[in-house]
C-alpha cells in the first residue's frame, strides 16, 4: 500500500468524528468520492447526510479560494528548489511544496462533496447558490492561470504520480496539480543546461519540445551592447578598470560595438585635425583674438611631434610604432609595391584589430587597447613568401 493510499484510508475517521468541522467533513468525503475505486466509499453518504443546510451555507460563506493562488505560487518555487538545491534542504522543500498541492486538492474534494451533498439534500438556493457558483468559478480562474505553469511542479513528479494513480480516471485531468506534466521528469535537466542528447521523452513530448524551443533564448542570452553613455564614459576616461575590461571583452565579440569604438578613435583624430585646421585659419583671420588666448586648450601638434620607432624592416615592408600624445598606432608600410597583409592580435584566440588603409600603409590603432591596460600584442605580416611573426610592446 502506497504512503498516499494509507494516508487517505486514515482520513476515514474524520467522517465519523464528532470533532470534525463541516469543511473537514466535506473535504474528507470528497477525497473518498474522487478516489472511490481505490479507497472505497464507506461512511461517506452518512457523513454528508449528517451535514445540515445552515452548516454548509456557513462553510460556503467562509471560503476564499483565491487565497490558494499565493499558496500554489510558493509551492511552485519550493518545487523548483527541490531540483536546484540538491542539498539536505531538498526534502524540506519537497514536503512543503506537496502541502501546497494538497491544499488545492482539498478544495477540489470539497467542491465534489458539495455536489454530492446537493444530490442528497436538494440544490442550494438563492444567496447560497450564488456563493457556490462564485466558489467554483474562482477555482476555475485559479486553475486557468496556474495550470500553464505546471512545469514548476515537475520535480515533485514521483509523489504526483502516486496521487494520480489513486484518483478516479474522470478526476485525473481536472486535477492538473497532480496530472499536468506528470511524465515530464526529463525536462528538469534542460533547465540548467543543454543535455548532450535528448531522451525519448524529450523528443516525443509536445509540451517539452515547446518548452525547450521557447526557453532557448536563455541558452544564448543576449549581451548588453555598449550604450551611448558607455561610449561617452569610455571615451572621456571615466570608466573603472572593470568597466574598461568589459568594453574590451565585449568588443572582442561584438562587431557592432567594436565598430563604434573604432569610430571613436577615428572621430578623435578628426577632432584633432579639425582643431588644427582652425588653428591655421585662426592665425590669419582671428590673429587679434588668438594672441589673447588660444582658440582651444589643445597644445599644437608642432609642440608635441609624433614619435616613430621602427620595430622591423624587411625587403617588402617596414613596421613602425607611432606615438602622438595619448594615441598609439602600429604602421605596416609596404616598401616594394608587393601586396602586404598584416594582423595584430591582442591575445590568442581573439580576432585581429581592424586596420585602416592610409597613404602610409596599414595602420592599427592601439589607443583603445592601451587605455584598457594592454601593453603588448602579436604581429603577423605576410608579403609574398616572406612572413613575420613577432610580439611587440607598445
Amino acid at each position: 500500500m502506497s504512503v498516499a493510499l494509507s494516508r487517505y484510508s486514515a482520513r476515514r475517521s474524520v467522517l465519523s468524528s464528532a470533532k470534525s468541522s463541516p469543511g473537514e467533513i466535506l473535504e474528507a468525503a470528497g477525497d473518498f468520492l474522487r478516489r472511490s475505486s481505490r479507497v472505497g466509499m464507506e461512511g461517506v453518504e452518512d457523513a454528508l447526510r449528517g451535514l445540515g443546510r445552515p452548516q454548509v451555507e456557513a462553510w460556503l460563506k467562509a471560503q476564499k479560494p483565491q487565497s490558494l493562488q499565493p499558496v500554489l505560487l510558493r509551492a511552485a518555487e519550493e518545487a523548483v528548489e527541490v531540483a536546484l538545491d540538491g542539498g539536505e534542504e531538498a526534502e524540506m522543500w519537497r514536503a512543503s511544496a506537496l502541502e501546497g498541492l494538497a491544499a488545492r486538492d482539498r478544495a477540489a474534494s470539497a467542491a465534489r462533496a458539495l455536489a454530492a451533498w446537493e444530490g442528497l439534500h436538494g440544490a442550494l438556493q438563492g444567496d447560497a447558490a450564488q456563493l457556490r457558483d462564485s466558489f467554483l468559478s474562482a477555482l476555475g480562474t485559479l486553475d486557468s492561470s496556474l495550470r500553464p505553469r505546471a512545469r514548476w511542479f515537475i520535480p515533485l513528479n514521483p509523489q504526483r504520480r502516486q496521487e494520480l494513480e489513486l484518483l478516479e480516471p474522470a478526476e485525473q485531468d481536472t486535477a492538473w496539480w497532480f496530472s499536468a506534466r506528470a511524465g515530464c521528469d526529463d525536462l528538469v535537466a534542460t533547465w540548467t543546461g543543454r543535455p548532450q542528447s535528448l531522451t525519448p521523452h524529450l523528443q516525443g513530448c509536445v509540451d517539452c519540445r515547446a518548452d525547450m524551443a521557447d526557453a532557448a533564448p536563455v541558452d544564448a542570452p543576449p549581451r548588453r551592447h555598449l550604450t551611448a553613455d558607455d561610449l561617452w564614459r569610455f571615451d572621456m576616461g571615466l570608466m573603472t578598470e572593470d568597466e574598461r575590461a568589459r568594453v574590451d571583452a565585449h568588443t572582442a565579440r561584438c562587431g557592432e560595438c567594436a565598430q563604434a569604438v573604432l569610430a571613436l578613435g577615428e572621430g578623435e583624430e578628426a577632432v584633432e585635425e579639425a582643431l588644427d585646421m582652425d588653428m591655421e585659419e585662426g592665425a590669419v583671420g582671428r590673429a587679434a583674438r588668438s594672441s589673447r588666448a588660444p582658440v582651444s586648450g589643445r597644445p599644437s601638434a608642432a609642440r608635441h611631434p609624433e614619435q616613430r620607432e621602427v620595430l622591423d624592416e624587411r625587403r617588402d615592408f617596414r613596421v613602425v610604432l607611432v606615438r602622438e600624445r595619448q594615441r598609439v598606432r602600429l604602421l605596416v608600410q609596404p616598401l616594394s609595391g608587393r601586396a602586404v597583409t598584416a594582423a595584430v592580435f591582442l591575445s590568442p584566440g581573439r580576432p585581429s584589430l581592424k586596420p585602416t588603409n592610409g597613404p602610409e600603409g596599414l595602420s592599427f590603432d592601439l589607443t583603445t587597447a592601451s587605455s584598457t591596460g594592454a601593453r603588448s600584442a602579436h604581429l603577423s605580416v605576410q608579403a609574398g613568401s616572406e612572413t613575420l611573426e613577432r610580439d611587440f610592446a607598445f
Binding site: 533547465w191 521557447d214 536563455v218 563604434a260 572621430g267
Partner: protein
C-alpha cells in the same frame, strides 16, 4: 556678433546667463556658429567610418549636438574638466566630442534599423516570395524577434526582483561578457563554486519565468 570675445569668454557668458536664467540663444548661436565647419568635418569622418550618411544627416546631427551641448553638455563639461584636466580643455573640443558621439550614436542606430533579419535556412527551399511578401515577412520576423527580446528582458527583470544574487551573477557572466567563473567570483566577492551555482540557478529560473511570460502572452492572444 560678439566678435571681440574669445570662445572661452563667450562660453563663460553662456554659462553665466544660463545660471542666472537669462536667455542664452544669441550667445550660444554665435558660439556654435564658429564651430560649424570643424563639426561638419568630424561628422564627415564618422560618416566615412560607417560608410554612409548625407549632408542632410550632417545638418540634423549638428543641431542634435547643439541640443545636447545645452541640455547636458554645459554641466558635464565642467565635470569632465575637473575629473580629467587637459582631456577636455576647451569648450570647443568638448563640443566637437559631443558632435562625434551624436554622430556615432546616430549611425549605430541607423545600422540596426537597416540590419537584415537572420536568414532562415528553411526559406532557401521555397519559391522566392514577391518583394512585398518578403518585406511583410521580414517585418513580422523583426517584430517577433523584438517581442522575444522584450520577454527575455522581462524575465530577467523578474529574476532581479525575486533572486537578485542569481541575477547579478547572470548579468555579469552573460550580459557583460565575463563568461569566466573565477572572474565572476572575484567581482562578486564569492567563491567560484557559488558563481557556478548562481549562474545555473539563474538559468533555470529565467527559463521558467520566460515560459510563464510566453504562455501568458499567448493566452492573451488566443
Amino acid at each position: 556678433m560678439y566678435e571681440q570675445l574669445t570662445d572661452d569668454e563667450l562660453f563663460a557668458e553662456v554659462v553665466r546667463r544660463r545660471a542666472a536664467g537669462e536667455p542664452v540663444g544669441a550667445h550660444l548661436g554665435s558660439l556654435v556658429d564658429r564651430w560649424g565647419r570643424p563639426a561638419r568635418y568630424v561628422i564627415s569622418k564618422i560618416q566615412a567610418s560607417y560608410g554612409r550618411g548625407s549632408p542632410a544627416d550632417a545638418d540634423e546631427l549638428f543641431q542634435d549636438a547643439v541640443g545636447k551641448f545645452i541640455d547636458r553638455g554645459l554641466d558635464q563639461f565642467r565635470g569632465v574638466s575637473e575629473q580629467m584636466p587637459g582631456r577636455s580643455a576647451s569648450p570647443k573640443t568638448f563640443f566637437l566630442r559631443i558632435v562625434k558621439h551624436v554622430a556615432i550614436d546616430f549611425y549605430r542606430r541607423h545600422r540596426e534599423e537597416l540590419a537584415a533579419p537572420p536568414s532562415d535556412p528553411d526559406d532557401a527551399m521555397e519559391e522566392p516570395p514577391s518583394e512585398v511578401a518578403r518585406a511583410v515577412e521580414a517585418g513580422k520576423r523583426t517584430e517577433q524577434r523584438a517581442e522575444a527580446q522584450e520577454l527575455y528582458w522581462a524575465a530577467f527583470a523578474r529574476l532581479q526582483q525575486e533572486h537578485p544574487k542569481e541575477a547579478s551573477a547572470w548579468e555579469l557572466y552573460h550580459h557583460e561578457d565575463v563568461e569566466d567563473h573565477e572572474e565572476c567570483a572575484r567581482r562578486l566577492n564569492i567563491t567560484v563554486v557559488n558563481s557556478y551555482k548562481r549562474v545555473s540557478r539563474a538559468q533555470a529560473y529565467l527559463k521558467l519565468y520566460l515560459l510563464d511570460l510566453q504562455r501568458e502572452t499567448q493566452g492573451e492572444e488566443a
